[in-house]
């Protein structure tokens, strides 16, 4: 085999007492796709930050093309040909497509002036090469672009800047199936051009399809580095969690009780005339395409959006409209989809985030009692198997899966009757996922909660739910019992009526986590 483009030697990084990456030695070869897998917190993102020069390694070295290098800042890594495409594309919305692609490397005339003709021509050339010419224009502003297009712009930027190693961190998390196909075609082309590729994803089907080699990280250490050929998803999962996940969704006999939550003709600005019933001990799944109004329904029930008409009854008592405090007091919890924007206080600690909804349980006479808070939260977080150096650590120091556990801890600290989970496993790895599934089971079966799960992952939706509601255009378009719910039926109900375009099953990603 040829000389590796990038070689990590004994790469180690500590954050305080936490060892994020431990003695990892790994080669990345030109013209190869190296898939990097591991649970959240296994060290993938840390490795990316080290090779991109955001952090310096505590120990160990990085070699590029046989030369040992140290990156003080990302600019140095970029100069060495290393580019990381992050989950949230870093583009400037108020600049044009062309300016974003050539940011930092704009063609000039007379040293100080931008050469628009050159820029435009070069951009058009790149867009054509990437098959994006029909979709993007060089002078188009980037503010209106979707995630897939933003990502393509970042990739083009990396390519035009002479990137020799491009790392993709969860690139498909917000892409449709079709956009994913296109991305794969581009990655395959880059590989043929001799670019070294690192590909990080939780979706194992993508990895078996795309990768030449698979490197598995667990708790910061490299546990395996092997050719992708012949690897099954089953096997990769096993390597990642260190134990086989025989079945994440055991069949069960739903022993549901009385109706706990009743929604009658709920209409808000976003949903119209929704009626549903949720029983004690029941998991009610809500499926639908992105934009079908599922999160909006949850926010309508929870009182975040004002009701225009209809009623929401908990144990027969009507909840006031637009009053989240009343919903919580009555025993409804809601974990929104976007953790960073809607669930977590990023400036605060784990403990502060966890006690947000239970002031009365962590105070004495209106004053915060740290000892009571610690007792309450450490009990719950132990059950949740939260991995954190301390409850006083900043919430941002946790991985996505552990942040979600803190959100769930917050709600478990309340005395809930109903818990609404909006995409509870978005961006969460297989191991933490199965823990969250177990937890949901536990809540319904032992604690008798009614749980509503909104999910875009078909496997998860069908596997978890006792009953599935399907939404489209802000309305309910189908209800299926566990026995009769199939992927096809759900899909058919989810397609908006009167849609001219071909059915777009893309918003559902096939579950890849078995």
């Amino acid at each position: 085999m040829a000389e590796p483009f990038l070689r990590m030697k004994g790469l180690t990084r500590h954050f305080g007492p936490v060892q994020a990456l431990n003695d990892v030695t790994l080669d990345v070869h030109p013209g190869q796709v190296l898939a990097l897998v591991g649970e959240n917190g296994a060290g993938k993102s840390t490795m990316m930050r080290l090779i991109e020069g955001v952090f310096e390694p505590t120990r160990g070295t990085i070699e590029v093309a046989g030369r040992s290098v140290t990156f003080d800042q990302p600019r140095d890594a970029h100069a060495a040909g290393i580019r990381v495409i992050h989950q949230e594309p870093e583009i400037v919305p108020d600049l044009t497509v062309a300016e974003n692609i050539f940011a930092g490397n704009l063609p000039r005339v007379a040293r100080h002036f931008l050469s628009w003709p050159t820029l435009q021509a070069k951009t058009a050339e790149l867009l054509a090469a990437f098959g994006m010419a029909h979709e993007l224009r060089p002078r188009q502003m980037c503010s209106g672009l979707g995630p897939a297009q933003r990502q393509m712009i970042e990739i083009m930027r990396a390519v035009q800047a002479g990137g020799k190693l491009i790392a993709f961190d969860e690139p498909t998390s917000s892409l449709t199936d079709e956009e994913t196909r296109r991305l794969f075609a581009i990655i395959n082309r880059l590989r043929d051009d001799g670019v070294a590729i690192i590909y990080i994803s939780h979706r194992l089907a993508e990895i078996t399809e795309l990768a030449d080699r698979v490197a598995v990280l667990r708790d910061g250490a490299l546990v395996d580095d092997l050719p992708a050929e012949g690897l099954t998803e089953e096997r990769i999962t096993h390597l990642m969690v260190g134990r086989p996940l025989s079945d994440m969704f055991p069949d069960r006999d739903p022993s549901t009780g009385d109706v706990v939550l009743k929604v009658e003709g709920l209409t808000t600005e976003h949903v119209s005339d929704v009626s549903l019933e949720l029983r004690r001990g029941e998991v009610l799944g809500i499926g639908g395409l992105i934009g079908a109004g599922r999160s909006e329904l949850a926010k309508g029930i929870f009182g975040f959006h004002r009701r225009l008409s209809g009623r929401v009854l908990l144990d027969g008592n009507e909840l006031p409209s637009g009053d989240t405090a009343a919903a919580i007091a009555a025993g409804i919890g809601f974990a929104p989809e976007d953790r960073k924007e809607e669930a977590l206080l990023l400036m605060q600690t784990i403990l502060e985030n966890a006690v947000l909804c239970v002031p009365e349980k962590v105070s004495t006479g209106g004053f915060f009692s740290r000892s009571r808070a610690l007792k309450l939260i450490s009990d719950i977080s132990r059950q949740m198997r939260l991995k954190a150096s301390s409850l006083d650590a900043p919430i941002t120091s946790l991985s996505g899966g552990n942040q979600q556990k803190v959100v769930l801890t917050r709600w478990l600290a309340c005395d809930l009757k109903v818990l609404i989970l909006d995409e509870p496993t978005r961006g969460i790895d297989v191991g933490a996922r199965s823990e969250i599934y177990d937890l949901i089971r536990n809540l319904t079966d032992s604690a008798g909660l009614g749980v509503i799960v909104i999910s875009s992952e078909m496997t998860e939706l069908l596997g978890l739910s006792d009953r599935v509601l399907v939404m489209a255009d802000g309305q309910i378009r189908g209800t299926f019992d566990r026995a009769e719910a199939t992927e096809e039926k759900v899909m058919r109900a989810a397609i908006p009526q009167g849609a001219h375009a071909a059915p777009d099953n893309n918003a559902f990603s096939k579950g890849t986590d078995r």
Binding site: T324, E342, A343, L345, L346, C357, S389, L391
Partner: protein, 328 residues
């Protein structure tokens, strides 16, 4: 990773001391000591005299009250630049009431009431009108000032009530009464902002209003309340000023008091977007400004240049606060 114990195992190490005080407060203390050294070297004879130190204390009492309530407002995600004008208005209200009734107590009540009402107006317009706090309080700054001039007919109103004057000039255990009042405000606000559930909720609201609302907090009520509190505190500031000068003057509080209060709050570690800031930090910010003001006068820095220094300090304070936030 399994170690989740909240307190690190014993040991009174330097590291723990630093952590307890906070790295930010330590840098403020360092800056303060630096200023003391500079002015001590330049004018040590006068600077460290008891009289001068008491002077500094008197000087920062009003500013301190305002900076601390400003911290509360900024933590909640807002800003109140009408505090100087509210101080002016309350000096007039207090002086007029005392002139009419000869009763110190009624004057104090009037000052607090007028301040609170003015703050309530701010809060209601900002919250229910959904207008940017800076714009609203910029507008009400002119309005409150205008009301003060109209009420007083542009004249200074003298106060001859001795028991009222004592608030500004009296001493307890050798310390001026205004300093005691500042200390009371510091303790009260510290408990409110850092220990009470209501206070802690302001950090949630300022940190991310969507999260706060999804956690069941009634944001409008909290918002209105913090501006009303800011008004009451401006009322306290106004009472202190009226008692010290023995008069109610519509023009008083217009010499950049809001600028200094906001500067102190940002020096103290507030974040522009809200959700961050401490009472102790604000107090240290106030001390720095107080020492700087006093030192510049002692070392005969011309007034016009003092203004340059104060403006620069605000921008530097916000720059440092944001820089720190982006680093984290």
């Amino acid at each position: 990773m399994s170690d989740r114990s909240a307190t690190a195992p014993g040991g009174f190490t330097l590291h723990r001391v630093v952590e307890r005080i906070g790295i930010h407060n330590i840098s403020l203390l360092t800056a303060l000591i630096g200023l003391l050294l500079i002015f001590g070297i330049l004018r040590g004879d006068v600077f460290f005299s008891t009289r001068n130190l008491l002077n500094i204390g008197m000087g920062v009492a009003i500013l301190g009250v305002l900076a601390i309530s400003q911290t509360g407002v900024i933590v909640s995600g807002g800003l109140d630049i009408s505090v100087g004008a509210m101080v002016g208005l309350t000096t007039v209200a207090t002086a007029m009431t005392i002139q009419a009734t000869e009763m110190a107590g009624l004057g104090i009540v009037a000052g607090l009431l007028v301040g609170g009402l003015a703050g309530l107006v701010n809060g209601i317009i900002i919250t229910y009108g959904r207008i940017n706090a800076v714009i609203v309080t910029l507008g009400t700054m002119a309005i409150f000032r205008g009301v003060a001039f109209i009420l007083s007919d542009g004249q200074s109103i003298s106060i001859f009530n001795d028991s009222f004057r004592w608030i500004g000039t009296g001493r307890i255990l050798g310390l001026p009464a205004p300093v005691w009042i500042l200390l009371a405000v510091v303790v009260g606000f510290y408990i409110f902002l850092h220990k009470s559930i209501v206070g802690r909720n302001y950090y949630a609201i300022g940190g991310n209003p969507i999260v706060a609302r999804l956690s069941g907090l009634n944001i409008p009520r909290y918002r209105v309340a913090i501006y009303a509190v800011s008004g009451v505190m401006a009322g306290i500031g106004g009472i202190l000023l009226a008692a010290r000068t023995g008069s109610g003057q519509p023009i008083s509080g217009s010499d950049g008091l809001e600028l200094e209060a906001i500067t102190a709050a940002f020096l103290g570690g507030c974040a522009m977007q809200g959700g961050r800031g401490t009472v102790v930090g604000a107090l240290l910010g106030v001390a720095i400004i107080g020492v700087l003001n006093n030192g510049m006068i002692l070392t005969a820095v011309p007034t016009f240049y003092q203004m340059l220094a104060k403006g620069t300090l605000l921008i530097v304070a916000v720059f440092l606060a944001e820089f720190r936030l982006n680093k984290a």
